[in-house]
Symmetry: C2
Subunit: 269 residues, 2 copies
């Protein structure tokens, strides 16, 4: 997807909400377990319930991989469903891949070509030649981990080298890579005070922001320094929306939660 299309969608829906499709069979409503593919049925219902309030969906690949070949089938069906019915919605394979060049190329083809995701999340540790293969696809995007929302983020991401933290170095260095205009960055909402620093280095790039809701981040804090003239943010919520209820009303409750977040976002347009 062209970035202009994403921005158009954001403005139309007055939303920069991304819904994380992290499906755990232990957490979905009992009645769905009678279906052949409960994960896909759950996703389909969640997509229908939230699509008017959201501009992006982000399946976390681990949740599918954990169910082996069955899980991969559910993922492919979900992605096909999105491509067919909601081609205007941005899709993110939350895979956190990254390997030497020829291997990264394989991952890139699997997710960006075969499964036709618009983007994929990437771990930066192996540097330029591990990331550039993901940037070689026109109208596709690589979302580089910069500052994550988990506790362990402090182990390495804040290490300072010449007064610059590793996460800042990752953002700055990666801007010199080939096709860097196709980069976006993961920046956790739990570290909202850092958005100002990050916007000084990456004033225009889109930021994917996990950690709102269950992990404690706030939309208001993120928007204060994170917004650009094109919004420039995708704020993700997973558990808060998809597990708002585990009863027959799970889809209705997901709609309410998504709408609630969208309405907070609408105030910034």
């Amino acid at each position: 997807m062209k970035i202009e299309k994403l921005i158009e969608q954001i403005k139309k829906k007055k939303s920069f909400l991304c819904v994380g499709l992290d499906v755990d069979l232990d957490k979905i409503p009992e009645h769905l377990k009678e279906f052949d593919d409960p994960i896909f049925e759950f996703n389909k219902a969640i997509i229908e319930a939230t699509q008017s309030y959201t501009v992006a969906y982000k399946p976390n690949i681990a949740f599918y991989e954990a169910y082996g070949i069955k899980g991969w089938k559910s993922l492919e069906k979900t992605q096909d469903y999105l491509n067919k019915n909601y081609p205007e919605i941005f899709t993110i394979a939350d895979a956190k891949r990254g390997d030497i060049g020829n291997t990264s190329t394989r991952y890139a083809k699997a997710f960006l070509e075969e499964m036709n995701f618009d983007s994929i999340t990437i771990a930066p540790y192996m540097g330029k030649d591990s990331v550039e293969p993901f940037l070689a696809f026109k109208n596709k995007h690589a979302i580089l981990l910069a500052l994550t929302s988990n506790e362990g983020a402090s182990d390495f991401q804040f290490l300072e080298h010449q007064n610059q933290s590793l996460f800042e170095e990752v953002i700055q260095t990666s801007q010199n890579w080939k096709n860097s205009e196709r980069l976006m960055y993961v920046v956790g909402a739990t570290k909202a005070s850092y958005f100002q620093k990050i916007r000084a280095i990456a004033p225009h790039h889109f930021l994917l922001v996990p950690g709102v809701g269950a992990q404690g981040g706030s939309i208001k804090e993120v928007c204060e320094f994170g917004l650009t003239k094109d919004i420039g943010l995708l704020i993700n919520s997973s558990r808060g929306i998809i597990y708002a209820s585990n009863q027959l009303d799970f889809a209705e409750k997901a709609t309410l939660k998504a709408k609630e977040l969208q309405q907070q976002m609408a105030t910034y347009f």
Copy 2:
């Protein structure tokens, strides 16, 4: 697998060779393409041809993922074949995963439980809580990326903080994590001069060493500073062995290449 079993195998075979099963359909012999599952047929032949000279196999997961569900089936069959026929050989899922805690747990279950790999490679960027879930399995191992063999390794892995490079920091910090005795580290052979530094921080941990052969590293240089009293090294070769020939004699040629490397290794016993 208990580490003692791996060491026993190393001493018995006088080998610390790991064979990388990075199967690319464009590179395997034509005649295998008539089989239902050419990747599995290729792997089976390579395993039979090299198992007396090798102590570990390492499928790079990207190569399988690139073929979608078919690829995952080939991977599962390969791993089942190894588990059944060569349970004494150490298996490494070269997956380079790493995510927030509950997600890492999912990956860990998929690879270490469901597929019963002995170990998995992990990217360290997200820190402690992204790695510890992989260390929670008895007799299983997490192999943390420290110093990789690719060009982009220099982008971030050498950034210095208080006179210590990021890769040294990764090794040192991770030794304080829960069950850290189950850690191993990836250290590229192309950076052999760093083995001395690394052994000062991690004198006993096993190091998985890619980059010998096609990528230019030498066994001699790695052994000079990398060896411990229990060997403590797994040196990987992929393309140099598995693609030694793409003709009918591919398995024979793979045997010769594996034997050649094993004989160099035997001089260190």
